[in-house]
Structure formats: structure tokens, C-alpha cells
């Protein structure tokens, strides 16, 4: 058994396959726009006083979450964080349920039990985040452990920011995933600031460089280039499925809004925001689609307007959703029985084009073949 980690360059050598159809590309743009417009609507609702607490968005980070989530098959699992709304949409959450969650309404994903971005739709294969970061890295590793123990070619993916890499739990998760070569994809969103704290006060060495010390590859990618993120995540997910273990992907991006709506970002140099606003992930992708992939401007406009009207429709539905019955506040502390998570939507054409649903379990429970060397019979070549 070779535990030697693939180098970042080897990982990148395997990218570049044109795995995306024209329809996939339209969907990538569509999901990024859906995140952008749904978050703009959420901010409006906040300003209207309809959102208790504060409001948190991931403006500028749309390419990272959409590109990474787009790689996953239905039976893969995700722990999505608070700058990653697009990943929820890729998995099948609708904007009305997101907006209702922010407003504490019955129609929100948590039905009012939890707020803002602290949700994950269990019916769509997601486990919602907690505020303590990066706790979900460990949960994702635990999910991946179960896949490995049962020799299932499935992947767990989670996100965290660069600030999270300063926490001891991050080390525990990376170390454990490395020891057991778990099928997990860690997406590090380096968005320059952890609340107000800049990267130089979080770490002395770029955390992506630590990956090799845990025994697996770490690779940096332009987090505002949706196809670049997709390509790296696709290879990482395939490596995981094939029993090659975890990957740490660092997506360089920029949080274009404050930590929350209450944060005026006075600590961010104006030039930095100007620089990153010229690299807006949605506008970059529109340019690429028209210049390199033959998309016509009217087609782009059609996508924009259909997303805008869909968000309007969803916002109306969210606002119409009632407040929850106070009686439910005492319900559900304990489970009566174990219920499996449902499967997520997997819009990438690869999943609809094949019989394979991204990790159909093998026959035979616990067909594990020994320490750290899961064999994946149904794994695909990248």
C-alpha cells in the first residue's frame, strides 16, 4: 500500500478534461446567478426588517461553492458553510426555503429552529453547519469514514474559511483524514478576512502547504473561476472515489461584503475591493461563455431574467410563509428512530448520462478490505 501523497502538480495534470457540456455551463452560470440574486433579495428583506439577527452572504464567492458542489453525485454528501449558498442550490434547495429560513418562517429549511445559513436539507444529503468552525470538517471526515468502512464509492465534501485553519479541530480533521485516506474533499475558501482578521494574523504559512504534511495533496486554484474550481474538485472527488484519499483545495477569492450586514468593512483597503470587483466571478464567466463557448448575449440575458423572475417568485412565497407555531419549540430534541439522509440533486450531465448515481453502495455491507486501502470497483476514470 502506497501512502505517498500525489503532488499538487500531479493533481493538476489530471485536470483539463472537457467534462462540461454546453448545458452544464449554462447551469453553472444559472446557479451562480441564483446565489447572487437570492442573496441580494435576502439583504433587501433584512433592510426591510424582516430578518431577525444579522444577514450573511457570500458575494464574490459564487464560483467556489457552485463549481465544487457541481461535481458531486446524488449519493455524495455535503456539509455546506455560510458563504456557500450556491452549493445548497446545486443540491436542490429552493430560494424560497433559504429566504424563509432567514426570516425564521415555517417554510424555512429548519422551520425556524435555526436561522440564517445554519441549515442543511437532510432530504438532499446535507448536514447543516454549526457556528463553531471548522467542526463540519470532522463531521465530513466521519461521513467519509462510514463510506470507507462499507467500501462505498462515495464522497463527503465540506467547506471552511482560511480562519478555520487556525483552529485545532482543523488539524484533527486533516490528520485523521490523512491517516485513513478518507474519501473527503476539503474546500478551503481563502476569502482574505476571517470577520475582520487578515490572513497574516491567522497563519504564517499558507495552509494549503500543510496538506502534504498530512499525507495528501493540496492545490490552490482561482476561486473566482468556476470552471477551474470545478476541474480541481472533480479530480479530487474522483481521487476520493477511487480510494486515493482526501484533497485540500484552496480557492483564492474575496468576501465582497462584510462578515454580516452589520459590518461596514472599514478594515478592508479600498484598492483590494476594487481589484477583486474587476474579477467578479459571474462577469468573468459570462465573458468566457461568450468569448470561448459560443454563448450569445441574448441567451445570457435570458438566463439572467429567468433567474430574476424565479427569485421574485420564491421571495413572494417566502414572505407568505407563516411564522412557526411556538409549540414546536419544545419538539424534536430527541429522535424516535434513525432516518437516513436523502440524496441530493446532481445537475452535472455526468450523473444523468450514466447509470451510476455517484456511489451506489456495493452489495455486501462492510466489504472493507483492510486498513487504508479501500478498493473501489465501480470507480470511474477521470
Amino acid at each position: 500500500m502506497k501512502l505517498e501523497a500525489a503532488s499538487a502538480s500531479r493533481l493538476l495534470e489530471r485536470t483539463g478534461t472537457d467534462a462540461l457540456t454546453r448545458a452544464d455551463r449554462a447551469l453553472l452560470l444559472r446557479h451562480m446567478l441564483l446565489m447572487r440574486l437570492a442573496e441580494e433579495r435576502g439583504l433587501t428583506l433584512y433592510k426591510q426588517g424582516k430578518v431577525p439577527g444579522s444577514f450573511y452572504d457570500g458575494r464574490g464567492q459564487e464560483a467556489t461553492c457552485v463549481g465544487a458542489a457541481f461535481t458531486l453525485g446524488p449519493r455524495d454528501r455535503m456539509c455546506i458553510l455560510h458563504r456557500d449558498l450556491g452549493a445548497h442550490f446545486v443540491r436542490g434547495v429552493t430560494p424560497d426555503r433559504y429566504l424563509a429560513n432567514y426570516m425564521g418562517r415555517e417554510g424555512g429549511v429548519t422551520g425556524g429552529k435555526d436561522g440564517n445559513m445554519h441549515f442543511g436539507d437532510r432530504e438532499l444529503g446535507c448536514v447543516g453547519m454549526v457556528s463553531m468552525l471548522p467542526d463540519m470538517a470532522q463531521v465530513a471526515a466521519g461521513i467519509a469514514l462510514s463510506f470507507k468502512m462499507r467500501s462505498e464509492p462515495r464522497v463527503a465534501m465540506t467547506f471552511f474559511g482560511e480562519g478555520s485553519t487556525a483552529n485545532g479541530q482543523w488539524h484533527e480533521a486533516m490528520n485523521f483524514a490523512g491517516i485513513h485516506r478518507l474519501p473527503v474533499v476539503f474546500v478551503l475558501e481563502n476569502n482574505q478576512f476571517a470577520y475582520s482578521t487578515p490572513t497574516e494574523l491567522e497563519f504564517a504559512v499558507d495552509p494549503v502547504q500543510r496538506a502534504k504534511t498530512y499525507g495528501f495533496p493540496g492545490v490552490s486554484v482561482d476561486g473566482n473561476d468556476v470552471e477551474a474550481v470545478f476541474e480541481v474538485a472533480r479530480v479530487a472527488a474522483d481521487r476520493a472515489r477511487e480510494g486515493e484519499g482526501p484533497t485540500l483545495i484552496e480557492c483564492h477569492t474575496m468576501r465582497m461584503h462584510g462578515h454580516g450586514a452589520h459590518d461596514d468593512m472599514s478594515y478592508v483597503p479600498e484598492e483590494l475591493l476594487e481589484e477583486w470587483s474587476r474579477r467578479d466571478p459571474i462577469e468573468l464567466y459570462v465573458r468566457r461563455l461568450t468569448e470561448e463557448h459560443g454563448f450569445e448575449q441574448p441567451e445570457i440575458e435570458e438566463i439572467r431574467s429567468s433567474v430574476a423572475s424565479y427569485v421574485d417568485e420564491c421571495a413572494e412565497k417566502a414572505v407568505a410563509s407563516p411564522m412557526p407555531d411556538p409549540g414546536i419549540a419544545r419538539d424534536g430534541v430527541f429522535a424516535e428512530s434513525w432516518e437516513p439522509l436523502g440524496d441530493g440533486e446532481a445537475p452535472w450531465s455526468r450523473w444523468s448520462a450514466t447509470e451510476d448515481q455517484g456511489g451506489t453502495p456495493h452489495n455486501g455491507h462492510h466489504a472493507s478490505n483492510g486498513h487504508g486501502d479501500a478498493v473501489v470497483e465501480h470507480g470511474r476514470a477521470a
Binding site: 454528501r77 429549511v109 429548519t110 429552529k113 435555526d114 445554519h118 441549515f119 442543511g120 437532510r122 448536514v127 447543516g128 454549526v130 457556528s131 463553531m132 467542526d135 470538517a137 470532522q138 463531521v139 465530513a140 471526515a141 466521519g142 461521513i143 467519509a144 469514514l145 462510514s146 463510506f147 468502512m149 463527503a156 485545532g168 479541530q169 484533527e172 480533521a173 490528520n175 485523521f176 491517516i179 424534536g332 430534541v333 430527541f334 429522535a335 424516535e336 428512530s337 434513525w338 432516518e339 437516513p340 439522509l341 455491507h365 462492510h366 472493507s368 483492510g370 486498513h371
Partner: protein, 321 residues
Amino acid sequence: MAEMTYLQAISDGLREEMRRDEAVFCLGEDIGAFGGAFKVTDGFMEEFGADRVLDTPLAENMIIGACVGAAIEGMKPVAEMQFADFIACGFDQLVNVAGKLHYRQGVSVPMVVRLPSGGGFSGGPFHSQNPEAWFLQSPGLKVVAPATAEDAKGLLVSAIRDPNPVCYLEHKGLYRHVKGEVPEGDHAVPLGEARIAREGGELSVIAYGSSVPLALQAAEELDEDIEILDLRTLNPLDADAILASVEKTGKVLIAHEATRSCGVGAEVASLVSERAFESLDAPVRRLTAPDVPIPFSPPLEQSVLPQLDDMKEACRELLAY
């Protein structure tokens, strides 16, 4: 039935569940080749393999986080904290992730955290604690604390089958000192049901864990009409059994080895005063450790942990009231 120590009964329950259900696996520090610091999993690696008797790195939050993730996907992990004290290092995953997932999102997390707890052997401030009250303040966690070999097996089996996170407090002082007849094969004791360990009519001693055998010995030596109620499960608490005993005897001593303030004793005393006030013939008393860390040196440790003479004196005072 077979005679087993409390320790053997824990091993037996865990082994039976691992044989019965392939989703059950255990993980923790030094539990594999070494068989665990107290040898609960001695021989398990040989029978079940290293995958299902997983030696973990020294990373308690990761142990609990791995349990959460694996449980969500249908495994039934049983984690061993080498000492209950070390759950402090895994507390975040336990109380913030495991305990709240079902309430927040309807995600059930069937997992057990085994917690070798308790003092009496000069373990000092980091190997002797009884941390149950930490969990009782954390919604979403069930908490059990067996006092007998039979319950050690039966409660562990039920904890493993429960769809929620369960903190299983196994008292180290009982491991080899408590023996009893234990049903072989499948044996489950339902969570949430107290047990009358000794029938009596003049005083109720409400106890759990190591305080149960202490109370039994005190009652025998005093030769008085004392009832001893073994709570067995601390969350959910068996309020009906507590109230029934208090209504019968009218006097209550609550005994536990854990520290005093905001502990199980405080909760039970409050329950009794709210719902059985009319039945009381004496003030509700508590016999607990004081609010101090557990000291190392034997005379110091003995002065803080409830001793047999303390139990007898507390019973005598209440009986005479």
C-alpha cells in the same frame, strides 16, 4: 445467567452488539491492540478486526466528530474516552454538533460515548471526575450511569440501539468491585427507568453509579427501613419513580459522587419540592462531593468523596428527624 464483573458486563454488552449488528463499531485511544486503558475491549481487535476496533489519534474532538458523521450515515459508533475527564477536549462536537442536530435539522445521531468516570484511586484532578452534570445542561444528550453488572450490560445495549447520542458513564471504582449475575446473549435495559435497589418505608436514598453500592452497604449496616432508588438513567430522568418513592417514605437523601452545585441532586431536590412537597417529613438532603477538583493524595481524596460513614450519618440524621 453468568457471574460477571461490571467491567466484564460492559465488554459483554459491547461484544454482543458488535456480533449482532455490523454497523456497530468502536473507536478510541489505545482500544485496539492494547484493549483499552481498562481492558474493556480486550480481545476485540482479534475478533472484529482493526476497522471495527479503531485506534484513534489523540484527538477527542475528532473521535466525537467521526462518531457524528458515521452515525448520520447509518453506522453505530461507540467511542471510548480513555477517562471521562477527556470529554472536555471533545465537548464542542458533543454539545454543539451531536446534541443539536436532530432538533435543528431532524438528523438523528445514534452514537454512544463511553466515559470511565469517578475517583477513589488517587487519579487526581484529571482522571477522577464525574462530569454528568455537564451533559445534563446540554439538550439532546441522553445520560446513563449504571450501578450493577446487569445494568452495565443492559443499559449499554439500549444506548447503542438508541437513535440519539448517549453518554454512558461507567464508574471505574465499580469495574472490578461490583459483580453480579448477568443475562447472557441479548439483554437490554430500557433507558429512562429507575430501579428500586432495596425496598424500604422510612427513607428514600436516591442514587446512581458508585453511590448505589455505598447506600446499600450503609442500609445493611444500619439495618433500617431504607429504600434505595437507583436512577440508572439521568436523562431522561424517571420522575415517576422518584415521586413514588418519596410519597411512600416522606424523607429523601440524594447521593452522588459528583460535585454538589447544579448537579443531579439539585435537580432531583427541585423536582421533589415542586411535585411532592406535601409528602415530605424532613428537608431534602444531599450527600455529594464538595465543589472542588478531586485531589490526589489519599487522605485528601477521601475527605472529598462521600464515604460509607458519611452515608450512614446522613441516613441516621434523616431517620431521626
